[in-house]
Amino acid sequence: MTDLLAIGTRKGLWLARSEDDRRSWTLDGPHLLAQEVAAVCVDTRRPTPRLLAGIQYGHWGPTVMWSDDLGGTWNETDSGAIRFPEDTGAALERVWQLRPDSAGRPDVVWAGCEPHSLWRSTDGGCSFTLVRGHWDHPHRPEWQPGGGGGAVHTILPDPASDRVTIAMSGGGVYVSDDGGARWEPRNRGISAVFMPEPAPEYGQCVHKVAVDAAGPDTMVAQNHFGVFRTEDAGRHWSSIAGGLPADFGFPIATSPSTPGTAWVVPLVADMQRVPPGGRLRVQRTRDAGATWTEGGEGLPDAAWTAVMRDAFCVDEGDPTGVYLGTRDGCVYASADEGDSFTLVADHLPDVLVVRAVRLP
């Protein structure tokens, strides 16, 4: 058993491996040096795992690359994996999210991109088709960009149905029950402190959404101020931020096996966006947000940095592994559900994304 942690940064990709159940790590890289890697995933549904990276060449534009030998060699589609149709008049700015679908749809991979767009691949991520039902949505003119740009950054396909849930900054949560043809906003209860109407139907800046282990209707969201939970597939959201030292942050993650368990990384906001008091810590709930407990022995006390929305993830181990990367290039791993962390890497470029998988 190998635990593999893919680390995407502003200047390349690193791969960390652990052969001793996540107690120690070796670092391999850089791969794709000098390319921004804002999205990465490891698709373990294939006979050999496929590493997919959403990259930005800097001067030369964005695309998706893939490796079927864990970074040894890289491939890309000559004409570009993601190209806006001519009639849209749009051009790809950045790939924000790469998400394999379920085991039952083994060649389907989703991509979330800037400008706000959702893409679907049926060839394992080599080429993508724009989801027109989302692109042509009448709300589009009102989806405003946040500080990092305007994008689909969260894609949650339901393995048991055609439902797809996405989140956008800004725009909020939208759900399609027919695989992407029709979309409706589901943000009731989620605040939008930057808009004159405090509870709009859409337009929220939902930073990240994760599905609870209880099932697809139960989700949690880290918002641009506020942490929320729904038990009816987003039709109603309730605050679960009580007890947190700050309700702002970017990532949120859930246990893949234990209902009601989730983690966030609070930041002081709006302007500072650093850990409270500079102490980098995670907050964990085991009771669906009723209470939160600080974790993070081994995390630094003077860390005037931040954790981006995708620079945080969990694995499928038991106990669950928790991983985070910081804007000052440090990566930490926890093998005990966030109680304590060990340093995996430091002095990397800004960490934009981490993804962990267990390989046989």
Partner: protein, 93 residues
Amino acid sequence: MTVQVVLPGVLADLAGGAKHLDVDPAGTTLADVLDALAERHPSLGRRLRDETGRVRRFVNVYVDGDDVRFADGLATTVRDGAEVQVLPSIAGG
């Protein structure tokens, strides 16, 4: 007509390792030159222009030494035997 395209070293691999390429465009504009280049080397073509056809923000193109941004952009006339040079602009950090 034939135009010589000069590439920076970082892009040469996408053109089979060549930094100097002879291109035979269908017309007389820079857009025609880049179209012909992209037809032969698609991966190179999309590094220079996005899918709308615009030259990427941090890519500079010179025709016979003149920056096309101060000429007619993609409509800049290219003569037979001209040199079209591609250079990365000042960017990054």
